[in-house]
Symmetry: C2
Subunit: 157 residues, 2 copies
Amino acid sequence: VLGKLYEKQECSAARALEIVGERWSLLILRDAMFKHCTRFSELERSLEVAPNILSKRLDGFVEEGIMELGAGGDRQYHLTPKGLGLKPVIMALTAWGDEWLGQGPAQFHHVGCGGTAGVELLCKACGETLSPADVAARPAPGFVPRRQGRQAKRRGR
Amino acid sequence: VLGKLYEKQECSAARALEIVGERWSLLILRDAMFKHCTRFSELERSLEVAPNILSKRLDGFVEEGIMELGAGGDRQYHLTPKGLGLKPVIMALTAWGDEWLGQGPAQFHHVGCGGTAGVELLCKACGETLSPADVAARPAPGFVPRRQGRQAKRRGR
């Protein structure tokens, strides 16, 4: 919900950060995903966040289709599939924090079998589990920048 | 490098966000990881970010052991293993942006075989590939809050 902060950055990660990169955004989503907080009051208590900030973030999530308001009049917020799609981001951040900054307090598990669940880097071609050094980036085939006109104009200043 | 912003949040994700949750942080790391930018000037050009902000973020990364300064006098910043460990976070954010906000421009690949690489949720017990709805959180075994004393004091106010 940062709007156009990163507008010169034509990139999916930058676009994602415009929506979930503000203070508290990812922690609100964490509590919605993993503590099953749905009510405004639950989130406020769990996060000890100022109600005006919480309200602003939740409005932004609804606007972006990350959450939707429940039918009742009691300000219940439910994650949409788009919102749930951010689970791997929270899990990857948590795994990094666990490894480099100190463990806990939560651990992720597979609801089906109870086993420990986590984020892995995988090669879709050879099936290998990868380490960070094994992964690089290249241009996506057929990518057409959508802001080319504006960028060209800006470059021409 | 947000310091104690989230200090009441005893959680690995919150601790991680204190270090990489500020504006530009993750995009600087993205360019260091995937565009192989190491020089201050390269990052400045690539990101079109104000030099004072870039400088502050890079100093913070060095302080946190995410980057280290090269031996020469030309302000080269290299990712440490701790910094490289954030690759799955960038990849998960990018995948979400690709899916929900629009594709591209980059695609990740396995350096070894050239195949497409990505972040997956996996169960370490049964080996199944999981969807976000298949994953829940539970208390990590043996977790002892490290800020208990301060938190208890705060609660007692």
